[in-house]
């Protein structure tokens, strides 16, 4: 019930060994040449739901946009299909379904701080009754949204003619008949104040035993439905620092939210209390050496969660051990190679994102230069390291100057756990084969022709760019740099591809290049 849904008709070619050939599928919000991007439109979060039927993006303007899968339920008419005379695409395709304003800019008067509306993370919750639930968060406040189809109702055959009521002066301010035209989906629940006294039925009124024949119920009919998003809960005031992650527990009852120094545990149904389970704030803030950068629950063990830190470590916690998880169950940390230390070592070691693979056996982490795959049973070193940004090593000084070195790239795993992907500069993203022996390492551009740059490049072996194993580290792969090959070594550090997500079952990647959402399949 929990897995395998929605994988219909999607086979994963090249499930082992063979590299995937990525093709452009779709783009939403494509930028016209020379069009200036509005800051608020820049995508800041992407998330597929568990089935892959839905995709959500959040942006800096606090909006959440939902997409739904179209294939399978083909929307074209039969005639169109016949004319087209080609099979419907086998890979998942999406269409815009709805959007809503999740967060608004706020001001914290106590601390004199502006709270941005930017969506930091989106997480899908358990679907119920066909209604989709999702959590969205900005720096401070988490909200639970319910998105469901609502019938647009027409009401007629009332007992009292509305026009009469208006003339009676008894009814002001709300129209008794609701027309779909002026239906306001974002209406405040407390809006429409009562501008009149409620009808009073005197106590002496005697109801005849058979009822009053002249009274009747109104007639309701509906011919249209609309997707309506409603905020069901607001989980506020629990974080002193900026929230960087939220993650649902497999018990479908709780979730965690993590800020720079603390992790809180919430019950989805209780918005006015949360439990602090991790607190790394030192007594004296001058002793601060480490912050939490990302946290995630184990996909199936309700008691396990992992969090990463700015020091490049991942801690695995067991909530069963104690209420406040001060002591980690496992600490994953790679010893740095002796002699390689520099001013930037600590900065680039900081982990920007971690993800559990589906089974929960592996954890993928992203730091500035690499992707690392950890086996939860091996704490000393990652089982694989994929060099993403090795070619930037000589430029670290510049990157420090322009703050790019602090960019937080996300990472993702394919549903089968056999491949990993992460973003880079110049709107590029990279996909690596994660199974032992795989040499797959592709670089793609978030554009309509993802392999454009690839084609320009004299490639050594067919379509694959990289197959050179790391010289020193035999586990390392993809260490070669596309640097010399792309645009004559020119990078566009302003075009960062920070956010991307892999479809839970199909080989489909959704990634954000500024305000545009690009989808690729293989």
């Amino acid at each position: 019930m929990t897995s395998g849904v929605g994988g219909t008709g999607v086979s994963a070619p090249g499930s082992t060994g063979q590299p995937l050939e990525w093709k452009f599928s779709q783009v939403f919000g494509e930028r016209a040449a020379g069009e200036e991007v509005q800051e608020v439109d820049i995508i800041s979060a992407i998330e597929f739901d568990k089935s892959g039927e839905h995709l959500a993006t959040g942006d800096r303007g606090g909006r959440v946009v939902l997409f739904e899968r179209t294939d399978g339920k083909d929307l074209r008419s039969r005639r169109e299909l016949e004319r087209a005379d080609y099979p419907i695409p086998r890979h998942p395709e999406y269409r815009y379904s709805t959007e809503f304003q999740s967060h608004e800019p706020e001001f914290d008067y106590l601390k004199s701080l502006e709270i941005e509306e930017k969506i930091n993370k989106i997480r899908w919750c358990q679907t119920a009754n066909g209604a989709r639930f999702l959590l969205s968060t900005n720096d401070k406040t988490i909200k639970l949204w319910k998105v469901s189809e609502k019938k647009l109702k027409n009401v007629s055959n009332l007992n009292v003619d509305p026009s009469v009521r208006l003339s009676n002066g008894n009814m002001v301010g709300s129209s008794p008949v609701q027309s779909p035209k002026n239906y306001a989906p974002f209406r405040s629940m407390n809006g429409g104040a009562l501008c009149r006294a409620l009808p009073v039925i005197s106590n002496e009124f005697v109801f005849p035993p058979g009822g009053i024949p002249s009274l009747h119920l109104p007639t309701v009919w509906s011919h249209e439905t609309a997707l309506i998003a409603r905020c069901r809960r607001v989980y506020a005031n629990a974080h002193a620092y900026h929230i960087n992650s939220i993650s649902n527990n497999s018990d479908c009852e709780t979730y965690i939210s993590a800020d720079d120094l603390r992790i809180n545990l919430w019950n989805l149904e209780v918005s006015d209390q949360s439990f602090n389970i991790v607190d790394i704030k030192p007594v004296n803030m001058e002793d601060l050496t480490e912050v939490i950068t990302s946290a995630e629950f184990h996909p199936s063990h309700c008691n396990m969660l992992a969090y990463s830190s700015s020091k490049g470590t991942i801690r695995l916690l067991d909530m069963r051990q104690s209420a406040l998880c001060d002591r980690h169950a496992k600490l994953f940390e790679e010893q740095e190679a002796p002699g390689s230390r520099s001013f930037f070592t600590e900065i680039i070691a900081s982990i920007s994102d971690i993800k559990f693979a589906r089974g929960g056996r592996y954890i993928l982490s992203r730091d500035y230069m690499t992707l690392k795959l950890w086996d939860v049973n091996m704490e000393a070193a990652p089982v694989a390291t994929f060099k993403v940004h090795e070619y930037l090593r000589p430029k670290l000084c510049d990157l420090y100057e322009n703050d790019c070195i602090f960019d937080k790239f996300e990472c993702c795993l394919s549903g089968d756990g056999q491949r990993v992907a992460t973003g880079s500069y110049s709107n590029l993203f990279r996909v690596f084969g994660a199974v032992p022996g795989s040499e797959e390492a592709s670089t793609l551009e978030a554009s309509k022709s993802p392999n454009r740059r690839l084609v320009q490049t004299p490639s050594r072996s067919g379509n694959r760019l990289f197959n050179v194993r790391g010289r020193r580290d035999t586990r390392g792969r993809g260490g070669d740099s596309p640097g010399s090959e792309i645009n004559g070594g020119q990078y566009d550090f302003t075009s960062k591809l920070l956010h991307l997500a892999w479809h839970p079952v199909a080989n489909v990647i959704a990634c954000a290049a500024s305000n545009s959402l690009y989808m690729y399949y293989a």
Binding site: A128, R165, F207, L215, V220, D251, R320, Q321, S322
Partner: protein, 586 residues
């Protein structure tokens, strides 16, 4: 559109607004569904209103919640128990919505209706509903189904009973943890209706499945089931099936499970009987008292008195008391506070000698605890220990503890101790109180925090009630009245409110002689706030004092205030004058 006669107009509007687009109006109509039903009559309620509600369930949760509640008591409106089944369809739909509170309410209403339905109707309508929900596509329906079995089962014939049991079994193994949690939560209720043979076979198997669930949240809830099932089973079966589970739960890897055990353990002692309690449960409880997770120790410490109440005094002294001693110096203040809140209750259980010998040192240590809540908790239960050993043994340590709390930096702590002062006064007696605590009570009247001053005034009233009028005249009133000369108007106001509270206790004579002049005098205060408070006070004194006093003293004063330049003073003076008039008329 029909025109409606004048008397029917409100009802017509009520009906129309079932579909208004203002949620407040819809909510109002739904809350008065019974009125609508009466207006339509029983037959049309069945044939029109109920189907109408079933079809229009696409509403806001607030409206659905109200609908679920109303339908629960709707049987009289549809024509009595014979027609109760017509109410099931709308509630069935409400059992499937996403919002938990709505579902819970719908289940509650279904149970309410089901328990009144005729057996034949249960078989024809209710059981099919339970089966449909149990096989629902979405987890929401299945979660709701779990709460209905105990109503359906007793009326079902054997064949259906077997089927119901197997549906429940499925629910206990559902993919979704929410469903399993609900199955665990409702198992006790269901088990109470199941025949003993199946209780031992089927129900115990379901229970076992739940106790071995991967999800902590499911196992947690099955701990609660232990006590419920334990009470249903024969002691021998309980020892064979429940005891091992609870013993293993008490050593569960998850502290949350152990926490639940610590909370529930004492309930199980009765079910298994004294001997297994001594051999199995006491050691389990001792382990929990020594658990390395503070939350578990807090729960265990909080139940120490209840647990000792079940076992023999000797076992308590031998096994539990050493742990209690350890807990009194626990590193977690919350553990100590939990212990302090119940430990006084152990005194009557252990008897005088053991209390003096063993418990007293612990009381004294806790009274000196650095954490104020611990001290407060001890003081709040002082009456229990007083019955056993008398207060004298404690009084020496008590006084410094009280004084320290009375001057605590945290005003909430001061507030808490003030609230215990009448209790202390009762236990300590007048003499001790006069010597040591009297001045404290006055001191609080001059506290910087309003809540403390307010509580101090209430406290004086309660003391006066406790020790009587004469005592109050002698020990409280002079000191209070003295404070009316305080240069700060806020403190003068405290005095006024204290007078106001004391007046009914000390009676008209004292009020007129000593307190009324002070109040009248305060009407000449330069601060308007004082003046309008005087007006309010005078108003409250009217019923207490003699009518001649009202006419001769109070009314002239109010008349004067009524001429005041300040609008608020005039307002309250007018209110008080009106009250005077009413009294005079009556």
């Amino acid at each position: 559109m029909a025109m409606v006669d004048e008397p029917l107009y409100p009802i017509a509007i009520l009906i129309d607004e079932l579909k208004n687009d203002d949620i407040q109006l819809r909510l109002n109509s739904i809350r008065r569904l019974s009125t609508i039903a009466r207006a339509l009559g029983e037959e049309r309620t069945r044939k029109e209103l109920i189907p109408f509600l079933s079809e229009n369930n696409d509403d806001d949760d607030e409206v659905l919640l109200a609908m679920a509640e109303e339908l629960g008591s709707f049987i009289p409106h549809v024509g009595g128990v014979d027609f109760a089944h017509v109410l099931l369809p709308p509630l069935e739909t409400l059992c499937t919505v996403e919002e938990t509170v709505v579902r819970d309410k719908a289940v509650e209403s279904l149970c309410k209706i089901g328990s009144q339905m005729k057996e034949r109707d249960i078989v024809d309508y209710f059981i099919p509903l339970v089966k449909r929900l149990g096989a629902g596509e979405w987890f929401t329906a299945r979660v709701s189904a779990c709460g209905l079995f105990h109503i359906a089962y007793p009326s079902a014939p054997d064949l259906l009973r077997a089927e119901l049991r197997s549906v429940y079994n499925q629910l206990c193994r559902d993919d979704m943890p929410m469903v399993r949690r609900s199955a665990g939560l409702n198992l006790g209720k269901f088990a109470a209706t199941v025949e003993p043979t199946y209780l031992k076979s089927d129900i115990m198997t379901f229970f076992k499945d739940l106790t071995q669930d991967d999800q902590d949240s499911v196992r947690l809830l099955s701990v609660e089931g232990c006590a419920a099932l334990g009470k249903l089973l024969e002691p021998a079966d309980c020892i064979a099936h429940i005891l091992p589970v609870i013993v293993s739960f008490s050593q569960d890897k998850s502290w949350r499970v152990r926490y639940m055990v610590a909370n529930q353990l004492y309930e199980l002692c009765e079910a298994v009987g004294p001997e297994p309690t001594r051999t199995e449960l006491v050691p389990a409880y001792v382990r929990l008292l020594k658990d390395n997770e503070a939350e578990v120790r807090i729960a265990a410490a909080g139940k120490v008195t209840k647990f000792c109440g079940i076992i023999s005094a000797q076992t308590a002294i031998q096994h539990i008391l050493p742990c209690v001693k350890e807990l009194s110096t626990d590193s977690s203040q919350h553990v100590r506070a939990a212990l302090a809140s119940v430990i006084m209750g152990m005194a009557p259980l252990l008897g005088k000698d053991a209390t003096i010998e063993q418990l007293l040192p612990i009381f004294l240590a806790l009274l000196k605890d650095e954490f104020p809540e611990v001290r407060l908790n001890i003081i709040s239960k002082l009456d229990q220990v007083n019955q056993v050993i008398g207060i004298d043994l404690l009084s020496q340590s008590l006084l410094p503890a009280i004084v320290e709390l009375a001057e605590d930096r945290n005003w909430r702590v001061r507030l808490a101790i003030i609230e215990y002062i009448p209790l202390l006064a009762k236990q300590l007696g007048k003499d001790f109180f006069d010597d040591k605590l009297g001045s404290l009570c006055m001191q609080w009247l001059g506290d910087q925090v309003f809540s403390i001053r307010e509580a101090a005034a209430t406290n004086l009233k309660r003391l006066a009630e406790e020790f009587g009028k004469d005592w109050a005249v002698q020990h409280i009133i002079p000191q209070v009245l003295e404070m009316i000369n305080n240069p700060h108007y806020l403190y003068r106001m405290t005095v006024l409110s204290a007078i106001c509270m004391l007046a009914p206790v000390v009676g008209p004579e004292v009020t007129c002689q000593t307190m009324l002049p002070v109040v009248i005098n305060a009407a000449k205060d330069r601060v308007p706030n004082i003046k309008f408070n005087v007006a309010k006070m005078l108003q409250s004194m009217i019923p207490i004092v003699d009518s001649t006093v009202v006419e001769q003293t109070i009314r002239p004063c109010l008349q004067e205030l009524y001429e005041d330049p300040d609008v608020d003073v005039r307002y309250f003076a007018q209110q008080a004058i009106q009250a005077c008039d009413q009294i005079m008329c009556a």
